[in-house]
Symmetry: C2
Subunit: 245 residues, 2 copies
DNA sequence: GACTCCTTTTTTGTATACAATCGCGGATTC
DNA sequence: GAATCCGCGATTGTATACAAAAAAGGAGTC
């Protein structure tokens, strides 16, 4: 019964014949569970449990877990012949490494973007300005729900990468960047307080891209993430590590 | 018969009870086949074929292929419900993106290294100097077999990463860096001609690390890879793309 | 009570069966 | 001859059975 009774397939979507591979479903759902914190940092991950929970067999779950492990959402301990997996803990050291890596990856994308021709840059700059203006509004009004802020910030960085990065850079960014959301969520309230600073940093990024200054663009993006890591570290320091175990 | 007759296991290594998971064996062997060019760039990769060739079942082969795909050794086309895999082609654009990414990843490691205390740095510098001296000797004598040169160069970069990078940075580097070997091998003769330049660039990296100048160290490492990409691009230009299809 | 040894249970890794999908070639039609 | 459709072999994705390994528990000993 567990793995979706096979006869009941005709009842699936008729029009959008768009059946996703269970592998992808498992990956997406698991990643979401981890990022949203519904799977606690440090907690064991057992293939059979996940399979039951998602109502699929262990096979696609295993594939998804392998990928999540390689990307860093899940870590293995006792890595002898049989691996035991756990949700990656959230620590100050890890957040530091993670933010610096993302800063460098995105910084490289920004460099490539700043090297594009003026027309392409202008189109991107327009979109970046629009997004950052929204953020600025929320920063000044003080309120605004965290998830909206997060979406806007994510959009900003996504535009950077999408408009300049090649397949490799995009893939690395797509694999790593979402992990910053785990830290963001954990300390959301404290971070959104300092939203104004981030908006200001974004403005400098946009300026550098607009005038086609690749070095400056890269440095500005790195600085944004570097300062973000410092802000996060201070919050972690004052609140204590919530997710190490 | 194909998947290793199960009864014949007692005959395996008696002392070193170190049975590697077939998953890991498959990953290692496949990666080696691709890097050494024994699986041609652009050629189809069929699970069952690999399984037969390695004398294991499709299950571990699939796991290995998933990982290789995520790392970029293998690419998927027709990515609808059924993926079809092929060995990643070697192109000028890809080499450019790859080298820049590696330069940034290693550059970050170099930055961290330059920030360590003077004692740690001195120990690392010593190892780097030794390796680079060997390279310099080979560069001046002109001869020297390419694989020795490659090993020395790889060792140099490996020391950089191992002595400073955290788990995430190390993992990314370990996944991506070996792919540069594919390009190296393809144009080995032309590259080794210019070995002297690379040795000189390494020397600047070592200097920066020695005096603890993080910015300079990072820039020097990036420059080494950036110039490497340019040297490679010139060679590809003159010889034509050998592995695109 | 702490330790060791052994048994039982849980969990992972591998092989294999089967179903869904894809791709290619050949037959058919105009 | 070119285009279209059909059907069959090739290939991938999923489920499941089983074996190896690790962990958990329990009896016995000191």
């Amino acid at each position: 019964m567990t793995p979706k009774s096979r006869t009941a397939r005709k009842s699936a979507r008729v029009s959008a014949d768009h059946r996703e591979r269970s592998f992808d479903v498992a990956y997406r759902k698991l990643r979401e569970l981890i990022v949203r914190g519904r799977l606690a940092p440090g907690s064991r991950v057992v293939e059979a449990d996940i399979a039951r929970r998602l109502e699929i067999s262990r096979t696609p779950v295993r594939s998804a877990l392998h990928r999540l492990q390689q990307e860093g959402y899940v870590v293995a301990y006792r890595t002898t012949r049989q691996a035991r997996l756990a949700v990656a803990p959230l620590t100050k050291e890890d957040s530091h490494e993670l933010y610096w890596i993302v800063g460098h990856i995105e910084g490289l994308a920004g460099r490539l973007l700043a090297q594009q021709d003026a027309d392409s840059r202008a189109r991107v700059v327009e979109r970046l300005l629009a997004g950052n203006a929204e953020l600025s509004k929320l920063a000044q009004s003080g309120g605004g729900d965290p998830s909206r802020i997060f979406d806007l910030d994510m959009g900003f960085h996504q535009v950077l990468v999408d408009s300049a990065a090649g397949p490799r850079l995009s893939a690395i960014h797509a694999a790593i960047k979402p992990q910053t959301e785990r830290y963001w969520r954990l300390y959301a309230s404290a971070i959104t307080d300092q939203l104004g600073k981030s908006v200001e940093e974004h403005a400098r990024i946009i300026e550098a891209i607009e005038r086609g200054d690749a070095d400056a663009a890269e440095r500005a993006i790195q600085l944004n993430w570097q300062l973000g890591a410092e802000r996060l570290a201070r919050v972690i320091e004052s609140l204590g590590e919530r997710g190490s175990w």
